[in-house]
Symmetry: C2
Subunit: 244 residues, 2 copies
DNA sequence: GTCTTCATGTCGGAT
DNA sequence: ATCCGACGTGAAGAC
């Protein structure tokens, strides 16, 4: 086990920084490094990042993150499942993170390391999230008349040749109804998605069956609204949470 | 300016941890905290995360990240532009990050802080990235016959009522051509997107004009391929980089 | 600000 | 493993 005093270093020697990161990799700990580095990536795409100061996070699950001073997204990264390696090269510290299928490599070369710390992380709890598309679905299943009086849900995730429909059902006149749900304001892409399912069902069911398509979301953009009209699709304004 | 020895603390007192984070917020530094905490979020959605050990990163641009031991995505976060606050509440340290439009709040309550560090980050360089859709576009513009002998590009980002077309041009017979580019293997969504542009142009141009739609990507899924066929659209296999 | 689309998207669930 | 769609998607460019 790592002693408390052995977990972090300010202005560490390269060999000492390397030793700490190596320990983290071996023991399944999370490691953070801060310092001046350059970064190279090659895999699904390829990138180069010149010298600058960044925070690097290596997770025990094989994730690597390179964060600059700005932005929510890391400037470079490697997904979970990668194998991390650390090595010294003269004064510089080099972190390599690899994966296969697809073959991807991330290389971080530190010219100087200002800070290293390693942590034994235990996180047993999952995130509980509300305001999702599932909440929106449940609102409609609980009271289908919100969509339209007479609407009767028959299935969720009903399969069509074009993919699974969020809610499938029938209206008061016995017409087939396809419902596509979105938790937030929708654009043209959502209209196309709904249209795909409707057209697919029209081919699949007998020709005489009318298939109505409903897009359910808090709101729609102007262009999406026009597209809905052109395709003969309908819109119902509804949010995942009753108050919003 | 922060003295080197003043930048990090292991097992800090709550007041000392608070002082460091406060300094980071005031002086535009990046702060990292590691410890046992619970997290609440409310905004576009709402979430709760029970006690566990996590790494929290506060960036000078107003970004907040809460990372657990797994995954590339933070378990909770706040986008750039937020205002961070830190305060002590008995033994616990509370970090609050707020933004407006939309109103969103992130609250991280530390029951214990194992480590705090703050960093003055300077990162002057931007990422240089290859293998993007733009690279794919340039390949075709450089040698349009890759798409089809006789193809002549006339515009990129040509506007239609349904949105901007990646490449617009004419084929050897004078027919209009719409090209949709994807840097990777495509599914049904890309087919729908191309179809939107083609249908929009068919309405926009005179009725007698034939509009051909090309999807250009490294590969296509089976379902997408079938959809292309049904719509009378064409596929050309091409990757952003010549070798892949 | 809103809109639209790309992304090394990531992630989860189903096949 | 691939496919498919949701995501508090994020980020960028256009308007």
């Amino acid at each position: 086990m790592i002693e408390s005093g052995e977990r972090a270093r300010v202005q560490p020697e390269t060999t000492e920084a390397s030793r700490l990161v190596e320990t983290a990799i071996q023991e399944g700990l999370l490691a953070t490094l801060f310092g001046r580095c350059r970064v190279e990536y090659e895999g699904r795409a390829a990138s180069t990042l010149k010298e600058g100061e960044r925070l690097v996070v290596l997770k025990p699950d094989g994730t690597a993150l390179v964060h600059s001073d700005e932005g929510q997204k890391p400037v470079n990264w490697q997904p979970p499942g990668c194998t991390h390696e650390v090595q010294t090269d003269g004064d510089s510290l080099v972190v390599r993170s690899r994966r296969e299928t697809p073959e991807e490599v991330l290389l971080v070369e530190f010219e100087s390391v200002d800070h290293v710390a390693i942590f034994d992380v235990t996180d047993d709890h999952d995130l509980s999230l509300t305001g999702t598309e599932e909440d929106l679905r449940d609102r409609i299943l609980e009271d289908p008349s919100i969509l339209e009086p007479g609407f009767e849900p028959r299935a969720t995730e009903r399969q069509t040749p074009a993919g699974a429909v969020d809610i499938y059902g029938v209206d008061g006149d016995g017409n087939a109804v396809v419902v596509e749900l979105k938790r937030r304001r929708v654009g043209p892409d959502a209209v196309s998605q709904l249209n795909r399912y409707v057209e697919s069902l029209e081919r699949d069911l007998h020709a005489e069956t009318t298939v109505r398509g409903f897009l359910v979301a808090p709101s729609v953009t102007e262009r999406a609204s026009r597209l809905l009209g052109e395709r003969g699709l309908e819109f119902v304004s509804l949010a995942p949470s009753p108050d919003t």
